[in-house]
């Protein structure tokens, strides 16, 4: 049986998402089965629209959707400086031949990392299945995620 890594991706921060996708792609490349369960701010990483858009059902959730945004506008957890720092980080990563967050996400798709969205938070934020990238395998709750993660390592980031 293949080794297994399951990651609960809670944060929508650029640096923490980079950690999620670095671990996920690395593990998948060495033969692990990898599951990522995106919940709360983590859902920003798998939105189809990577910038800011009014996703949601009510005016309030639409406002939240706009403020949260997608992968391209993810803030860094420290010294964000109104979104300037993530741009600096991306340029440093390119300059030093380190994969950017967007590249890591693409590699994760190619390597068959299983991406799951949290049903409960989607409901709170008025997000639909179609608001996410097509590679999202399923919309799950806690019980199903625990079953998937059983007999493997689990991380919360």
């Amino acid at each position: 049986m293949a080794k297994k890594l399951s990651i609960i991706s809670f944060s929508g921060d650029f640096d923490k998402l980079t950690a999620v996708f670095t671990l996920a792609t690395g593990a998948a490349a060495v033969g692990y089965e990898v599951n990522i369960f995106f919940t709360f701010w983590g859902l920003d990483a798998i939105k189809e629209k990577q910038g800011r858009s009014f996703l949601g059902k009510s005016p309030l959730t639409k406002a939240f959707g706009f403020l949260m945004g997608g992968l391209k506008v993810a803030p860094v957890s420290r010294f964000n400086f109104w979104g300037i720092s993530p741009k600096i980080f991306r340029s440093l990563m390119r300059k030093n031949n380190v994969a950017t967050l967007e590249e890591l996400v693409e590699y994760a798709k190619v390597l068959g990392v299983n991406l799951y969205a949290c049903e409960m938070v989607m409901h709170i934020l008025g997000l639909k299945r179609e608001d996410f990238i097509p590679e999202v395998k399923d919309v799950l709750g806690v019980a199903t995620f625990l079953k998937l993660a059983d007999d493997g390592q689990t991380l919360f980031i």
Binding site: G26, A28, A29, V30, G31, N97, V98, A99
Partner: protein, 74 residues
Amino acid sequence: MATYQLDITKDHCPITFVKTKIELSRLSKGDILEVLLLEGEPLENVPRTSAEQGYTVLDVSQVEGATYKVTIQK
């Protein structure tokens, strides 16, 4: 049976072995992949994880300085 080349000397973890894994998955059985990589983490990791996943590491040789060539058969 064909031979392919992959240069990961400019890449860093985890992309070194991510690229190797993707390239190997595209090959047909019997094909050979020559991976150019640097000593240290890639040199330790690429041959070991390739062997663990059922590929055959045919050769590891120094090209020059810190650069090595790892020959893997699918």
